[in-house]
């Protein structure tokens, strides 16, 4: 794989003021009052009562009309969960997260099932944008056992105009190879690290490296890389995947 030495058009970096604004935006959330109401709607300690939010005592204001109905729905939904009724609504998540191993067939993930008893069907008919079939000829190869979306090796560069391999190409190829040729996948990750040290797929690269190291028998290095990634990105959603990869006995938390 060749690539020129010109700097790749990596994502534009945000000015400090914009980063601060993004951070401030992230600090937002529900007010304390809203939290109280929402917690109440959860049924306090999780004991599913038929009345949903019927836990009262300190003026826990029921939610507004729509929310009131939903509160009951939540109570029922929890009850349903406790009762083990887990069959309904398998479609969306499974479709969304397994599609990488099940190339687009039929309706795909747009078929969302999310309508508990009295919910206003938030999803079923929502025409979400389809994934998995972005371009003709995309191989849509599954690469890892978990929630990896389709990453094609097609020559469409996400960065556009870069004559070398794009971030997505490198990581996509590494994902495709990590099972069958983890050493090659590792090389691709290393190339990505050289070309895109501050790219947008750094976390994905690191997770792939952990997996590739693990698959090549370099368990210790894999564990160290995993630990480093978790320290650097404690909030990463790859945490569970890393723990699965490493076989950490610490569980999901």
């Amino acid at each position: 794989m060749k690539h020129d030495s010109s700097p790749s058009p990596i994502e534009p970096s945000l000015p400090a003021a914009a980063r601060q604004a993004a951070s401030d935006l992230r600090a937002r959330g529900p007010s304390e009052d809203a939290l109280v109401r929402l917690r109440a709607s959860l049924g306090g300690g999780g004991s599913p009562s038929p009345a949903g939010h019927a836990k009262s005592g300190e003026g826990l204001e029921p939610l507004r009309s729509a929310g009131r109905a939903s509160g009951s729905a939540l109570g029922r939904a929890i009850g349903v969960v406790v009762a083990g009724a887990s069959l309904a609504g398998v479609g969306w998540y499974v479709a969304a997260h397994r599609s990488s191993s099940n190339p687009p067939t039929g309706t795909g993930p747009a078929a969302v099932s999310a309508s508990p008893a009295s919910m206003p069907e938030p999803s079923d008919s929502v025409p979400v944008e389809t994934r998995g079939a972005p371009k003709a000829g995309s191989p849509a190869v599954a690469t890892t056992q978990s929630a990896r979306p389709v990453v094609t090796g097609a020559p469409s560069t996400a960065e556009g105009g870069d004559s070398g391999p794009s971030e997505t190409q490198l990581i996509g190829r590494a994902q495709m190879l990590v099972h069958t040729n983890p050493k090659k996948a590792l090389m691709l990750c290393e190339e990505h690290a050289r070309r895109y040290p501050n790219g947008m797929l750094v976390q994905e690269r690191e997770v792939l490296m952990v997996e590739a190291l693990k698959r090549t028998g370099r368990d210790r290095e894999a564990a160290e890389a995993s630990e480093q990634l978790l320290q650097t990105n404690p909030d990463t959603a790859h945490r569970n995947k890393l723990k699965v990869l490493i076989g950490d006995s610490g569980g999901a938390d």
Binding site: L14, A17, L38, A66, V81, P134, Q145, S166
Partner: protein, 181 residues
């Protein structure tokens, strides 16, 4: 307290998910155009769905992406309701719902408003990709998972959005690029 999930999957309880992610869900709903009471109601509805889908959660579930998918659909349903106000992202912040705003400086408020104005002007896909990546700090893979799009698409959306944000801030007041600790 006893968990209601199988040990193999180690799925969390809905209360745990609520405490960990309610703010994220709230913001996602806001970024989908919901405001005020609608956000609260929709947040509740999201966790109704979460409670229902709890058994589907496994250790490998990218939680925020998963929650985002639910929140997006709930937001869409909410917006379809006749009584729900239509999308109305404005440059003004709903400060009533955002206690953290109280202590930030005027300059930061302005920057925040500027950021929101830029986001408002963007195509929704770009805005949400930016929000997930730069505001919520999801990995790009999570962004792709959440938006149910290929990684390349997520990449492009974030890149374009970042370019627009960077341009807006560069145009505005270049001298105010100071990083506050």
């Amino acid at each position: 307290m006893k968990r209601m999930h199988s040990p193999a999957n180690a799925a969390p309880r809905v209360e745990e998910l609520f405490e960990q992610h309610v703010s994220f869900v709230w913001r996602v709903l806001e970024h989908h155009g919901l405001r005020g009471a609608d956000v609260e109601d929709a947040t509740q509805e999201v966790f109704v769905v979460v409670a229902r889908k709890l058994p589907q959660i496994t250790a490998a579930t990218p939680m925020r992406s998963w929650l985002y998918g639910i929140a997006r659909r709930v937001a869409a349903a909410s917006r379809r309701k006749a009584h729900t106000r239509r999308e109305q992202l404005t440059g003004e912040l709903p400060t009533v719902e955002t206690p953290p705003d109280q202590h930030i400086t005027l300059e930061r408020r302005e920057n925040l408003a500027r950021l929101q104005a830029v986001l408002e002007a963007m195509h929704e896909d770009q805005r949400l990709a930016f929000v997930l990546r730069e505001v919520e700090q999801l990995s790009l893979q999570e962004v792709a998972d959440a938006m149910e799009c290929p990684l390349q698409t997520a990449y492009s959306r974030v890149k374009v959005a970042k370019g627009k944000v960077a341009a807006a801030f560069a145009d505005a007041e270049p001298e105010e690029v100071r990083d506050e600790a």
